[in-house]
Subunit: 413 residues, 2 copies
């Protein structure tokens, strides 16, 4: 057997980052209506002030605040109601001393006025005169030009995954098309003579293509696109041919399956058989997921994921997702929840260990219930909220300790 | 002005729940490949055991564990290697005393064997004989029939939003089609004479349709479908006509805009003008979002959201989302992060107050930075991670207090 240097998780991350820097993802311009969850590929700044005019935030009377200072029920201020500003209308006049003007919520506050008295505190004396029963502070019940957003101010930064709130802000600024990275295209090849697709007849001893479906789902959820999903027999020539086709159509190729030594050798041999093909990682000192292979063919990454579904998905979340985020220039932030561990957890000496847990809330906050059953089980992942990461040099974690739980679901905050 | 009973948030939730119980969402059967994020409409149980056979989790030799008890480097156990089980092949023989058989990772462990010795601890003496250098515990390195999932066991419950891990489990069980609720169909009408769509020319005093785009994005993100999005002038007949069309094509109608008293009156009048139309909620004692209207036309809900974008989106997250979850029979779980408050927060007496915060992580865990600027601002929501909910009777929260932050993004755990 050839000797392979098993790398640590952080060494693997450095390799992945370098790999991502060498591969460029193109941009496309899309309409705001379909931009939710897409990754912005250029900084977007405000083309104008928001609001573009001084706006009332209530139904009421625009006034000069100093003139209603000290107004009360028993001692109201008297003002001339000179006008009424309709919604969407320009208030093209200057409010002078002794004057007030009706402005609806969202309407324009005229020059001169520096606040709005809510209609509840105003009484109409006659056609022209109103009584103000309460004082207002300067700028009360109004927003000024540029309060929300100033012309030239950054709206969304490069690498931002667009939320409904970003979409609202962009709409407010009148931006209807936006440059985003094209969706990352994935090809997934599930390798193994025993793997059978969902609608095919299956014999005892064979198993369904769990990884193909679970990985497709994960990729879709993260905003990627699965351009090819296939099951490939454990045969060098077939695997090479299918990998070649995958490299033609996808940005990233995932080979999953092959936890047995034989299959792993195929994955390695296939990667190296291409021009510009080389294996960069052959084994990672983590648990689960040790038999992971990462290679490149030219500028493209090829991941050889473990065959165990749970391991494959954990490796995807740890390393493939990090690669995706680098390609899309997303900020590397990890969301975790602090929880009290409800059981002892053992780690594997010399390996970073990922321990699946379920989060359970009580009055005090979150608790993490570790799963003790065998790691290959799909049911565990389906029930898990997230996982703990136990560093290589930590022996294990004790019941009652405070731990960080990384969620299985992506959370941007 | 008519007198309206302003309701508390929890009173409104009771009304919403009752309303949801009266409206049925149809199901449809879809392929697993497109089921991510969809809501399951019936319980799904395992049609078979998973795994269906005793499987090896390593490359190695299946043995009877008792026979290698005490095996060591200096005192190995000698066994007859009688066979080799290929991947996907049925091991249709019984392993007897003194025998071993090679099984690859994922391969079938034959009857009689109760564990697998990893290949690393096995030495081949000759064609037939192997030396075992380590003992194994019973059931070591194998999973037994039904370990992951037993026939008849619940895989996903009704109302579950399908994750990639559920998809993997369903694929493993050979389930390729699944019944899910049809996507909830929304119509969004942004009302107001001053509202202008993104690609139309805009005059000073008018504003862009923020709510239409932000709400569409939110609905899409939550798995709903926007079947109609329109801008409607403040005119009773037009609003009635458009609302009628919306009720024909959508499950849920959102009217947004109309924070001014006049527009709110239109919303109310329009709802009541339909046969079977009535207003159930007219004002909620919360901040922001007080001028919220909830009505019904027949079995369908009509929400009159505030015009302020930030308020409209908060109301959507609090009440429309709760209505959606009830319709889809999703369990009502709320995800929150415990954080230390980094500033004092004031509440509005007699109102449940929603205070936007940004989450910032340090060594100790999460901190919540409150935003003090005016609540109508869209930039705040775009920057916010989530919000605090301050109960009606709480005066406010002090810097240093532990608070629960509800995230703007839906998190299922």
């Amino acid at each position: 057997m050839e000797f392979f240097n098993v790398l640590t998780a952080s060494e693997v991350h450095s390799i992945i980052n370098k790999l991502a820097e060498e591969y460029a993802i193109e941009s496309e311009e899309i309409h705001l209506m379909s931009a939710t969850g897409r990754i912005v590929s250029e900084e977007v700044t405000a083309p104008l002030d928001l609001p573009e005019f001084n706006r009332s935030t209530v139904d009421g009377y625009a006034v000069i605040s100093q003139e209603v200072m000290g107004a009360s029920e028993s001692m109201p201020s008297f003002l001339d109601c000179i006008n009424e500003v309709a919604m969407g209308e320009i208030a093209d006049f200057l409010l002078k001393g002794g004057q007030a003007v009706y402005v609806p919520t969202g309407g324009m506050v005229p020059e001169g006025a520096d606040g709005v008295v809510m209609i509840e505190y105003v009484e109409k004396l006659d056609e022209k005169t109103i009584l103000i029963h309460r004082p207002i502070a300067p700028l009360e019940n109004m927003t000024r030009i540029g309060d929300d957003l100033k012309e030239g101010e950054l709206i969304v930064s490069k690498g931002k995954k667009l939320t409904p709130y970003d979409i609202g802000l962009l709409a407010g600024a009148g931006i209807h098309h936006i440059k985003v990275y094209k969706k990352l295209r994935f090809a997934i090849l599930s390798t193994g003579d025993e793997i059978v697709d969902l609608e095919e007849p299956k014999k005892l001893g064979e198993i369904r293509d769990i990884n193909g479906y679970a990985l497709s789902s994960l990729i879709t959820e993260l905003g990627g696109e699965v351009v090819k999903k296939a099951i490939v027999k454990d045969h060098f020539d077939t695997l090479k041919e299918e990998t070649g086709k995958a490299l033609d159509s996808a940005d990233i190729v995932l080979l999953s399956g092959g936890s047995s030594v034989g299959t792993r050798d195929y994955t390695k041999a296939v990667i190296e058989s291409f021009e510009g093909g080389s294996v960069l990682v052959h084994g990672i000192s983590i648990k689960p997921g040790k038999p992971t292979i990462i290679g490149r063919v030219g500028q493209k990454a090829v991941f050889g994921l473990p065959g165990h579904p749970a391991s494959a998905l954990i490796i995807f979340n740890q390393f493939v997702k990090a690669y995706m985020d680098h390609l899309l220039e997303r900020p590397q932030k990890e969301f975790s929840v602090t929880a009290v561990l409800l059981g002892n957890v053992h780690s594997s000496p010399g390996k970073e260990t990922y321990q699946m847990v379920q989060l359970v809330q009580d009055e005090e906050g979150w608790n993490a219930v570790p799963f003790y059953a065998k790691s290959g089980m799909m049911t565990l992942l389906a029930k898990a909220s997230g996982y703990l990461r136990i560093p290589e040099r930590t022996e294990g974690l004790m019941k009652g300790e405070k731990v960080k739980v990384y969620l299985l679901k992506e959370v941007d905050i």
